[in-house]
Amino acid sequence: MKLIACTEGHSSKIEAFSLEMIAAARSLAQAGDEVVAFFAGRDTEGASASFGAADRLIVARATKSDVIPAETYALLLRDVITAESPGLVLVPYSANGLDVAADIAARTGWPLVSYVNEIKRHGESLTIVAQMYGGKILAECEVQLPAILMINPGAFAEAPPGAITAVSVQTIDADPALTSGKVKMVAIDVPDYADVDLTTAERIVCVGRGIGDEASIDLARNLATMLGAEIAGSRPVVDNGWLPKLRQVGKSGQKVKPKLYLALGVSGAPEHLEGMSQADLIIAVNTDPKAPIFNVAHYGATCDLFDLVANLSDRLRAGSGR
């Protein structure tokens, strides 16, 4: 059986989760199986230099666009599926993968399971553990092959990076599909990280929906200042306009790895955990004892966050002599 691991990269950067997809496929491959990595983009050299853990690499090489719209990626992938007849296609849960996985599932008729954390193979079927309801429930699913899985970044350790032999690389021209595609990229906006770069911050105080309103963020901001930390927010806080986008932590925000991550009123949706679960020290404060943030926290407290911020601020202020 062939297992296709979908990989991604743009702006001369291969996404780390690409190696996780290859590792996931590798872990499911049995004797005689073949792990085929699929890459669509401009940085085909980067893909060839990194995806040596796969048996083969199929690259759809684009010369005219740095970003491949998901629809074009899906079209190229469909051609590969038709040619290779795989038993399993693994797609990362990313902005691109979100569109690709269900598109392919609809057009092939194959089953799809999303938000996958664990996979076990039993011959021609799989049992899968997937997340539902923001990570509050785990669903054990069964699926017959062929199938498509959309896998959570971080669910599998990265395959070791390394070059793949040239003879194992097959190159497809992606330009015709990009030219004829219905969705055209017209601009890519990469923010200026000069003002704040959470990815390099050593200490972060992150506020979630539990902070209640914009004015209350000042309390957390003052605490952050005392700790020498950057203030950050989860998606609802940024969506409400209470903090700028560059201060959002999570899947569609920044992926951070500080020495201290103090989460105040953050529930811990999978999209948020993806951005911060690698922090060295995670302290979470949430009145809901079942909040998923506690699954990754090193220390958790269920007190009122405002009471805690007041008490903690008092102690830190006293300690600093101010």
């Binding site: 569109d99 996985a101 309801y133 017209v186 998923p292 506690f294 958790g300 407290a301």
Partner: protein, 254 residues
């Protein structure tokens, strides 16, 4: 432009979720159902597009409390509201409802289908790409800005780490909305009362058409708490402990 916007009612997962006796679903008896957050933004984007360039907005709702949310949609500016019949006490699977939404899009000659980028029940895949693929219309998810210029759409998509990509595509199209260009608007009680008279259409579901799907065997609650230490619920005690922990790790201050 004819816009069809999909509104899914989902359990309020901010509260406690209990498993049902069959072990394959959650107990819905005492749950609050609310409009999927992302669908709320999709509705707002539809109304913003209507205000910017003129459009007929049809809101279709599915799930527990659909009538209530359709009245809210009418109060916010939807021109027509339709409840898509769904199985009671069952999760709303995008894979299952995609064919119904595609059929409605065709029947209403929709130029644009909008829905939230995802819902917390979408364990078998997301709605926008399913509907886009079934209709063979272009689709983009994760949008946070949509501008229409006649039949041409400019759509901005969040790609993570603050990176945004803008695409151009022609209608008819399907878009999964992450965030509306403006926050969902407030509707006054008087507008809601007025909208309560809006007739609610009914639609019967189409068969999903998929021969094979994955199956949920069992649901379970994740192991809570991980390996972390619980500091308890007393703010004073917690603050004392945290100061000690931070000091011990050299993190108390600069």
């Amino acid at each position: 432009m004819n816009i069809l916007v999909v509104l899914r009612m989902i359990p309020d997962s901010a509260g406690e979720l209990q498993l049902a006796e069959d072990g394959r679903s959650i107990d819905r008896e005492w749950l609050d159902f609310q409009l999927n957050d992302f669908d709320d933004h999709a509705l707002e984007e539809a109304i913003l597009l209507k205000e910017a360039g003129g459009a007929k907005v049809t809101a279709v709702a599915v799930g527990e409390g659909a009538n209530r949310v359709l009245q809210m949609a009418a109060a916010r500016g939807a021109d027509e509201v339709v409840a898509l019949q769904s199985e009671e006490d069952a999760m709303i699977s995008s894979r299952e409802i995609a064919a119904s939404i595609a059929a409605m899009a065709r029947a209403k000659s929709a130029d644009l289908v909008l829905c939230g980028v995802q819902s917390s029940e979408d364990v078998f895949g997301q709605l926008a790409p399913y509907v886009g693929a079934l209709l063979d219309w272009p689709h983009v998810s994760g949008t946070n800005r949509i501008v229409a210029n006649g039949a041409v759409l400019r759509v901005t998509q969040e790609r993570g780490a603050g990176v945004a990509v803008t695409y151009e595509l022609a209608t008819p199209a399907v878009l999964g909305v992450q965030t509306a260009s403006k926050a969902p608007r407030y509707v006054s009680g008087s507008k809601l009362r007025e909208a309560s008279k809006t007739p609610i259409g009914r639609a019967t579901p189409e068969s999903s058409g998929f021969e094979r799907s994955a199956e949920i065997i069992t649901l379970r609650l994740p192991v809570q708490g991980g390996s972390g230490e619980n500091l308890g619920g007393n703010a004073e005690t917690v603050a004392d402990r945290l100061v000690s922990i931070l000091a011990a790790k050299g993190l108390a201050r600069n």
